[in-house]
Symmetry: C2
Subunit: 715 residues, 2 copies
């Protein structure tokens, strides 16, 4: 499929199949909008019913056109779209936008029609956008190829390019951001059902497009989600932040999963992991795009998360503090030298503690603004500065803005403003700030939120750079792969742990016994006390089947226990295939954790870590990352969960062996990659994390192999 | 202190002490603003330096005025304020706004000055507003008594009255809400350091003021927080929602507390509890005030939380769904009858599932809007309706707005709109909606958030009404109070549990032994196994002192254990007063919970519930309510925590005795009220919640008595 999208956004000629003379209708609008916005290329209306449309010669069929258009817009009824797309293929058209609805979004026959479209697009190598979309606007080159209310307005081009799976919402983002938020867009494209050119294709193009500075996206779901990490990496390297909606978070539809990992690893967990890994900024509302867009336009990223606030309103300073701390930043600790300097000119009724309350007295001597700002910016403990000017307006506002611009020009540190004057009352001040790309916000809360977004992004970028050279661990175990190939039933504990061992993950000492006597022999080798557990591919929940006994102290108890768990297993499931009874050391001490792999159909393998039992199951306190996971990322996962203090000595426990835990996560990641073709889900539950220096030990494990759904036996 | 605040907001005359002829200065501004906005009363500038200010006769001193003004504004230097306030007292002035800074906010001598002011105000019964504030605006009556940029503009009066402890931020809320948000204010007052008339005094006045429909507040801290519940109740009964900022949430300053309850019960926990109990809506930003204000202006509250969404944009429907579900609402399940009706006129490529996607085809036959909306509103399973009109504009927008208004008038159910057209392109449509008080929002996210706020408030109101007749349990135990009076040391387990027993809270069987032989005798009565624990007012953390032994099975072990815990206690703290060794039944099974009381200096007694151990200590998963707590509120607390599933049978556990748990919470609340004067903190940790029907059992408890800080011995 084609991805030379420059041609799509700047087509030399556009054909409109189904063009209507009634400009009020959907099929009439594109020609009207192209014309009224001054499209410079050639327009070819195609409709056998007309000789001309909008003063332009109309053709009865695409084949009759004197040239091959760069872009074709298809606006006919769904039933006729396949035919038209075939004609585009015959003509060699590179890009087609299919506006028509009535495909997979309506289910039934629409799904088949859509498959047919995709097939034609592949055969003819057509870059299809849509179906079920609202088209595209290239503001910079005046290409308004679509329909909808927002096409009637003119726009000034700006730094943002956006791709949206929703037409109505996407165009409203562009319209409100540009017109009410003052943040212009460069390109805007809606992709609807996305049978061809995808959201990530467009994002990759925006990364390459030299004039796009900021990328925005609205996503319901990515069919090529496995590319998200790679595309995110390119955007990070290019220094182009991606502002992203991921919606549909309340959907329930989870597939039935055997493991906790797969149950917890729904789409949102994996999107969230990918976004975090590559610094993709999630947005909630249109105002976020405007606010964060202004912030990123300044092209300044803080070196750390320490903010100094200068304010003339104590209350606003407190509000901003609450917001930035919630967003992961902290108030900078000003140095003694800085405080000494400030003391010289800040009134005694001000406050030198950050937020620095300079009081309105600062406006009696305007050089004070310059000196205060400069002094604080110069403090090496300050990564960025926010100044709160309340509702200052008029000439005073303009003068102060000039002072701020002068100081800000001398530094690379971000300087943000919270300034609540209405636009009409501080026009001159705001114009100076805009010209110098100094972000300003009407409320301290919005200013703080934008600062936190920039700080989060800068941290993600630093983290990513420091991790770029970390080579992921690669382990290849062809025997393990072979062992799992073609399996249809869940792989029970004994075998699953043998596979873990192959990848260097420590497991409990254990042996599979086929008789009570074998069990006793094994227990003598391992040492009492031992645990025993039934091994059956047909019994995934051994405890529920009462087929587990813990803390067996001697031979007699072991023999009795052996018979009991076998009997209970048979009672639980008469036809269960019983592979034996696992005799296992009892682990003493340690903290129960859970590790897992879910091999997502869209994202590929992802690794999960959490504390065991209620933490994972009830509180869902777990961390996900897409594989491969390097050592430093494994560390992040461990520190990310709320229960982390339990591993570092909370409630009088000994600190846990975090090195061994991180090592096990990395090895599990290597396993997940090596066995991607054969492992669908994997739980290590519990993994005992022993105290510092004593390692980890997998006490139970379960693998669900990759099987075609028809062959699945455990559901 | 005076609270007839009508006189404050509509003074017949105003004196300005320290009035300046320079209208650019702070002391010059109030006269200018009063005049330019057309204040209808008499203005008396007071300044010995001038004969007139702004064309008005100026007096050398307040005593010289021909009458007693209703309101005096004091704008002189901090050092002269006490003198001026005394003069106000001598003249019998009812209300004084002190603008001057330099009081408690600067610490040191400012604190003493402020105390002196408060003393004068009390002596003369003056209603003081401030010091360190920016004054007041009564828009409806054109009283602009203050200074600041926003005083230069004119405003249309609206339904909101606001009180703010921050001048700069408060006035920016009013200015931006009124001018950019289209939500007018009626009154706005800033209270600064609040030595006299408090935030809650103003809120009580707004509740009484017939023309105030919505109340807004910005609060850093309430000195009379104990009135919050009472004032909140009045507001709920009057049907006037309170939109409230509570800021300073990242403050650390916790007092050293003996109990988990007091450690977890910081100011935010107690404000949060009070807000929840009385339906006070927390806001984050100015836009929230505008959005929620528009919503509440409609005066329609949903009967439940089930929303039906009608949309022409699938994407916007998904966004709104995410938002309302996150806000505690749910999508309504449309009835079969409703679906059958809709099927008649919604195109096949639309969606009948809620969100109902009517597609743009609805605009081909405008009667369809009416029919769709009416059909959905009539569904008894629908509590409120949101319609999403994307960016529709112009004449079509106006016609559609008319249709919506016509249908909305026929129902009491809330009808909200998400409509993204810019104001200038849908003026007529928006004007019709505004006139009919139908809330409309530029984004589906804001619309959803406002709906969720209204739904949350409506639910709080219903809950409050259903709980109003629930009498709180009252238990009076004068002996218990007497026992704790004058105590300075923490009350250890044995005694603390005897007090719990007095209030009907079940405790473990136990006896205090003063020798190993007494311990054996006690164990025989109680039955083995037993636990033993040192009892000393000087050892609050018995486990840390190694002065606890659990699971003692026989006499010999008990005797040895007795000597051991005594020895360990002495080793831990040589001079600890040892009251004996507690011999206690071992509780088998059950779930560990924690109950507690914190007697907050501002709020009074509050009750806490959580699950034990890590849940409370590491995850801070606890619920607070201000006492008294009734049975249904106790139930809410239990259901509110994240670990709740652990009490209802998660992970194969038997369901816990929630009735007994709720009963214990109610009894603890009665204790907290009865012993308010003597109990500062109380922990029951753990409280074992046994399985259904088997009750609860307090296994350990600690009481910190109320003592003057000088007498405290355990810190």
């Amino acid at each position: 499929m084609r991805t030379d999208l420059e041609r799509f956004f700047t087509p030399r000629s556009i054909a409109i199949i189904g063009a209507s003379q009634d400009f009020g209708t959907i099929s009439g609008q594109p020609l009207k909008h192209l014309q009224s916005h001054g499209y410079k290329g050639t327009i070819y209306p195609v409709n056998p019913r007309y000789a001309e449309v909008g003063g332009v010669k109309c053709y009865p069929a695409l084949a009759e056109l004197p040239e091959t258009p760069d872009l074709v817009l298809i606006l006919v009824n769904a039933s006729r779209v396949t035919d038209m797309l075939r004609q585009c293929g015959a003509k060699g058209v590179p890009y087609v936008i299919i506006f028509s609805s009535g495909f997979s979004e309506v289910g039934g026959g629409g799904v088949n029609l859509q498959q047919a479209l995709a097939q034609i697009a592949r055969e003819h190598d057509i870059g299809v956008i849509g179906p079920n979309c609202q088209g595209m606007i290239n503001v910079a080159d005046s290409v308004f190829a679509g329909f909808g209310s927002v096409f009637s307005s003119d726009y000034d081009p700006g730094p943002v390019s956006m791709v949206s799976q929703s037409g109505g919402f996407g165009f409203s983002v562009m319209n409100l951001s540009a017109k009410e938020g003052g943040l212009g867009f460069r390109q805007m494209v809606t992709t609807g059902n996305e049978i061809g050119v995808s959201t990530l294709d467009f994002i990759e193009y925006f990364i390459r497009d030299p004039q796009t500075e900021i990328i925005a996206g609205y996503v319901e779901g990515l069919k090529d989600a496995n590319r998200l990490i790679e595309v995110g990496e390119k955007a990070l390297q290019a220094g182009k932040p991606i502002l992203m909606w991921k919606v549909g978070n309340t959907e329930q539809g989870q597939r039935a999963a055997a493991s906790h990992t797969a149950n917890l690893g729904g789409a949102m967990a994996l999107y969230g992991a990918a976004f975090r890994q590559k610094g993709i900024i999630q947005v909630d509302d249109i105002q976020d795009v405007v606010d964060y867009g202004r912030a990123f336009r300044s092209k300044r990223l803080p070196q750390g998360n320490r903010l100094a606030i200068i304010t003339i309103s104590g209350g606003a300073g407190i509000l901003m503090t609450d917001e930035i701390v919630a967003g992961g930043m902290q108030l900078a600790q000003l140095s003694v030298a800085t405080l000494d300097k400030l003391r010289e000119f800040i009134p005694s009724f001000g406050s030198l503690l950050n937020p620095v309350d300079v009081t309105a007295a600062i406006f009696n001597d305007l050089t004070l603004i310059n000196r205060t700002l400069q002094t604080i910016i110069d403090d090496p403990g300050v990564d960025c500065v926010a100044m709160i000017n309340a509702s200052l307006q008029g000439d005073l506002a303009a003068t102060i803005a000039g002072e701020i611009v002068a100081v800000a020009k001398q530094t690379d540190k971000p300087v943000f403003l919270s300034w609540s004057a209405r636009d009409v009352l501080a026009q001159d001040a705001y114009a100076q700030l805009d010209a110098a790309l100094i972000p300003h916000y009407k409320s301290p809360v919005r200013c703080g939120r934008a600062l936190a977004a920039v700080s989060w992004y800068a941290e993600a970028k630093r983290r990513n750079e420091s991790q770029r050279d970390e080579k992921p661990l690669v382990i290849e175990r062809p025997e393990a792969k072979k062992m799992l190939q073609g399996r249809t039933a869940d792989v029970a504990e004994y075998e699953a742990k043998r596979i873990l061992k192959e990848y260097g993950i420590a497991v409990t000492q254990e042996a599979l016994a086929l008789s009570a006597d074998e069990a006793v022999a094994a227990a003598k080798r391992i040492g009492y006390p031992v645990a025993i557990k039934i091994q059956s591919p047909d019994i995934s929940h051994k405890t529920e089947a009462k087929a587990v006994r813990l803390g067996i102290e001697d031979d007699d108890a072991l023999k009795a226990g052996y018979e009991e768990v076998v009997a209970n297993a048979r009672a639980y499931k008469a036809d269960a295939k019983i592979e034996g009874v696992l005799v296992q050391e009892m682990v003493k001490g340690g903290t129960e954790a859970i590790l897992g792999v879910t091999n997502d159909p869209l994202f590929g393998p992802a690794v999960m870590f959490g504390l065991g039992g209620i933490f994972a199951e009830v509180l869902k306190d777990v961390a996900f990352r897409l594989a491969p996971v390097t050592l430093s990322v494994a560390r992040e996962m461990i520190e990310e969960i709320k229960g982390y203090p339990l591993l570092t000595g909370a409630r009088g426990k000994a600190p846990a062996d975090l090195d061994a835990l991180a090592d096990a996560i990395v090895k599990l990641s290597a396993l997940a990659i090596d066995l991607e073709d054969v492992v669908a889900e994997l739980d290590i539950n519990p993994l005992f994390v022993m105290e510092k220096g004593k390692g980890v030990k997998a006490a139970d494990a379960l693998i669900r192999p990759v099987v075609k759904s028809r062959e699945r036996v455990n559901e």
